[in-house]
């Protein structure tokens, strides 16, 4: 009998432009709950995908029960009873809840699928999880939290010996978390070994017996949870003083630029009021699915809203289309820059001037010389690492792509910048640069809205923080007088009342 149920040695995984995992190691004992911690971008998600066979590592070995195994695809891993709940939903939106649960191991009778049995089993699984989701509902019509519960049911029903949970509590209310803790404990008693990935330190203390820390794509250390000091863990995760990473400066605030009052949209957000001043960074914190992105899509004119008012420089406005918003001076940096922010196959200079083309157009057509000049200038200002402005956007790393999107925003004459998860999927070095840029912009007098799910980022970069929960905005707090724990408390409290 091998000492470890699962052992990974010297794993290296590279993606174009990034080393996602740099010689990391990991050991899982039988029947333990092992927490895997680290900041966003530390390589945790990639690591799991290697265990589950979605990604194939360039170097390194995987041992299961002391025997070396090679996973070429997810089926190989699930054949060895390894199951995972991913951070990003892997649901099939138009299929029913029951089918989503059983898709990798359909119940059959005489070689045909046995739907009544699947519905019945799905219902039992969900009720055991304390949920009243209808297994016949299309999963796409459920909330994020409900979908997460279905994902858990799916992994349980696959009879996993090793269960990997990637941020399972991120979108859950306190009550749902309690249920998850209970269920996880149950699974452990039944002999399942669990790898638990979470940002939340309390998750780790509640559940895990050991914890492994990754940072900047590297393995840092493995600790016994008992007797582990919180500070020791945090410094292992962060690896540097917070003040080095977040270059927060004091900037004089001007007049209010964007004022939102009692904004509501049926079933999405309700009674949202806030204002943001010149030179201010207003953070928007909250759990996944709290309605932040939806709120700003409505303000920006991508989606409608039902009632309430938006005022820009004291004048009431309502944008029906993003173009109107840009012309009025409101810019939006979308969360998914590859899908919504860039034309990946285009050259950088074309991307930079895309939303402001009329500035470069005359009767003779588009003045590409002027376009390139503008792109060159903004690349220098933001110190974007490019060979030339003819490079295509897809050839850049995540951080530099983000800078191109910012260049594009700045090319328009804006007053308000809405930044939705600007550092998502960007490595630590580029993050620091993006923070610098944010402060520079605030200094120039932009009013900045920073939507972020990374607590340290929101707390360190904002002047004030609006905390959203379940489509509402219960409180705006002063960033200097608050802590991550307090914000989480607000975000969860409202959920708890409702949930």
């Amino acid at each position: 009998m091998a000492e470890y149920l699962l052992e990974l040695k010297d794993i290296v995984k590279r993606f174009p432009g990034v080393t996602a995992l740099d010689h990391v190691q990991f050991q899982l004992k039988k029947g333990e709950i092992h927490a895997l911690m680290g900041e966003n971008g530390a390589g945790k998600s990639t690591f799991i995908k290697i265990i589950t066979g979605v990604h194939i590592p360039e170097e390194g070995q995987i041992f299961l029960n002391g025997e070396e195994v090679f996973f070429c695809n997810p089926l190989d891993a699930s054949a060895k009873s390894i199951a995972a709940i991913y951070q990003h939903s892997t649901a099939y939106p138009h299929l029913t809840v029951a089918e989503n649960i059983f898709i990798s191991h359909y119940e059959k009778r005489k070689r045909l699928l046995n739907w009544p049995a699947m519905y019945k089993k799905a219902e039992k699984l969900l009720r055991d999880l304390g949920s009243d989701i209808d297994p016949r509902e299309e999963i796409g019509s459920l909330t994020v939290a409900e979908q997460q519960v279905v994902e858990i049911a799916k992994a349980i029903s696959a009879n996993a010996k090793i269960l990997i949970m990637d941020e399972p509590t991120a979108a859950l209310s306190e009550r749902e978390c309690e249920q998850l803790y209970r269920i996880t404990g149950q699974l452990k008693e039944n002999g399942t070994s669990i790898i638990f990935i979470s940002h939340r330190i309390e998750d780790m203390y509640r559940l895990a017996s050991r914890v492994t820390v990754f940072r900047d794509s590297r393995y840092i250390a493995t600790y016994e949870v008992e007797g582990l000091e919180k500070d020791q863990l945090i410094s292992a995760m962060v690896g540097r003083k917070i003040s080095d990473l977040y270059p927060k400066r004091e900037i004089k605030k001007g007049a209010p630029v964007l004022q939102v009052e009692h904004l509501s949209r049926q079933g999405v957000f309700k009674d949202i009021s806030f204002e943001v001043h010149q030179g201010e960074v207003l953070g928007f914190a909250g759990l996944v699915g709290a309605g932040r992105t939806e709120l700003f899509e409505s303000i920006y004119g991508i989606a409608p809203f039902d009632s309430g008012t938006i005022r820009l420089d004291q004048k009431e406005v309502r944008f029906h289309h993003p173009e109107e918003a840009i012309r009025a001076g409101v810019g939006y940096l979308p969360e998914d820059r590859q899908r919504h922010g860039l034309v990946l196959s285009w050259e950088i200079f074309k991307n930079v001037t895309l939303s402001t083309l009329s500035k470069y157009t005359s009767l003779r057509g588009i003045d590409t010389k002027k376009e390139k000049e503008a792109a060159r200038k903004s690349s220098e200002e933001l110190s974007t690492k490019i060979q030339s402005v003819y490079d295509t956007a897809e050839s850049l790393s995540g951080g530099n792509q983000q800078k191109v999107v910012v260049s594009k925003l700045l090319d328009a004459d804006l007053k308000v910048l809405i930044l939705d998860e600007p550092t998502k999927g960007v490595d630590v070095g580029a993050k620091a640069q993006i923070y610098e840029i944010i402060m520079d912009l605030a200094e120039k007098g932009y009013a900045i809205i920073l939507i972020s799910s990374e607590m340290p980022e929101v707390v360190s970069m904002s002047d004030r923080i609006a905390v959203m929960a379940n489509g509402r905005l219960p409180e705006i707090v002063d960033a200097k007088r608050t802590t991550q724990e307090q914000i989480l408390e607000i975000a969860l409290n409202l959920n708890r009342q409702k949930g």
């Binding site: 099939y92 138009h94 699928l113 079933g267």
Partner: protein, 330 residues
């Protein structure tokens, strides 16, 4: 109470379509003074729609995975022509072999489409647009532009689509068989469900370990097989094989599948919906001449009715979605 609402909202498309067909049928019944609802006319209608129903089932498999097949008409023509030529030159060939030939031709063409789309990563719209012309070209190469006329076929061959079983024409049996097989395949086998899965989310399918490319190729092959069979039946039914047979037929098929509520983006659709969609199109083909609508107007009316059914469909779905949002408490 809750269940009732769900049954309604889950089957909204089928209900709208069935309602449209009934509405049209009654309008025609009224217009023709009772000529429409005679038993023989209803069976005629089914018989006329049979080939469309079959092929729609085939195309549905492709559309479910998020692809499209524009070469269907050419596959039908090719299979029909090759079967007819084989029959012409070997009058004593067992019919069974002709069916085998039709299936084989369809499967081969479908595989070619699937291979180009899944392995060479060409958009299905473009890949099958190209093969549409290639297959059509191959027909001309074999036929030399000539027909195969009824006189060159055997009576047994023509009988394929004229025999009756239990008083019902064989074409209807073929359509029923294909529909039932499609229903079982798409709802009760994991291979069939994987078509939905791939159309829903390729990234999720990847994580589940579904072989995406293989699934896509399979959908094209199944579609090709059905188109091949349909091509053979087409030749029997009309008693001749021309080089232009079924040219442009794919448009009617796409219309049926889309009117039947399949999402062109993939992942959504039901056999019942497609059956109703094909029936709607078939009914229109049948009754517009019956009520003496000018041939000039028939096309436009068809297009208009497809548009209405799709718009109603979309509007109803939007309403259901809004109601769902309204139920969510904030």
């Amino acid at each position: 109470m809750n269940d009732k609402r769900n049954i309604f909202s889950r089957n909204i498309r089928e209900i709208v379509l069935a309602f449209m067909i009934v509405l049209i049928a009654f309008a025609v019944q009224f217009r023709t003074g009772g000529l429409f609802f005679t038993g023989s006319n209803l069976f005629d209608l089914l018989r006329e729609a049979s080939i469309l129903i079959m092929v729609s089932m085939g195309l549905m498999m492709v559309i479910l995975t998020g692809n499209i097949d524009l070469s269907i008409g050419s596959i039908m023509g090719l299979s029909g022509m090759l079967c007819a030529l084989t029959l012409k030159n070997h009058q004593d060939i067992p019919l069974f072999f002709l069916f085998l030939l039709a299936v084989f031709i369809g499967a081969f063409c479908g595989f070619l489409n699937g291979f180009i789309v899944a392995k060479l990563h060409v958009y299905a719209l473009i890949a099958t647009l190209a093969t549409k012309y290639i297959f059509r070209g191959v027909i001309y190469l074999f036929s030399g532009g000539a027909w195969v006329a009824q006189a060159e076929m055997t009576p047994e061959f023509i009988a394929i689509t004229t025999v009756r079983f239990l008083g019902i024409n064989s074409l209807i049996w073929f359509a029923a068989g294909i529909t039932i097989l499609s229903f079982v395949y798409l709802n009760y086998t994991s291979s069939g469900r994987h078509l939905f899965a791939v159309g829903n989310s390729q990234s999720a399918a990847e994580v589940t370990g579904i072989r995406i490319r293989l699934t896509q190729i399979r959908s094209f092959v199944l579609c090709g097989i059905i188109a091949g069979l349909a091509g053979l039946l087409w030749v029997c039914k009309y008693g001749n094989a021309q080089s232009e047979s079924c040219d442009g037929y794919e448009i009617s098929v796409i219309a049926s599948v889309v009117a039947g509520g399949c999402s062109i983006a993939g992942g959504e659709g039901t056999v019942a919906g497609v059956l109703l969609g094909a029936l709607l199109m078939g009914t229109l083909n049948n009754i517009l001449p019956l009520i003496r609508v000018s041939t000039y107007w028939q096309q436009a009316i068809k297009g208009f009715i497809i548009l209405i059914s799709i718009v109603i469909n979309a509007a109803m779905q939007k309403r259901v979605k809004k109601q769902e949002l309204r139920r969510r408490e904030l």
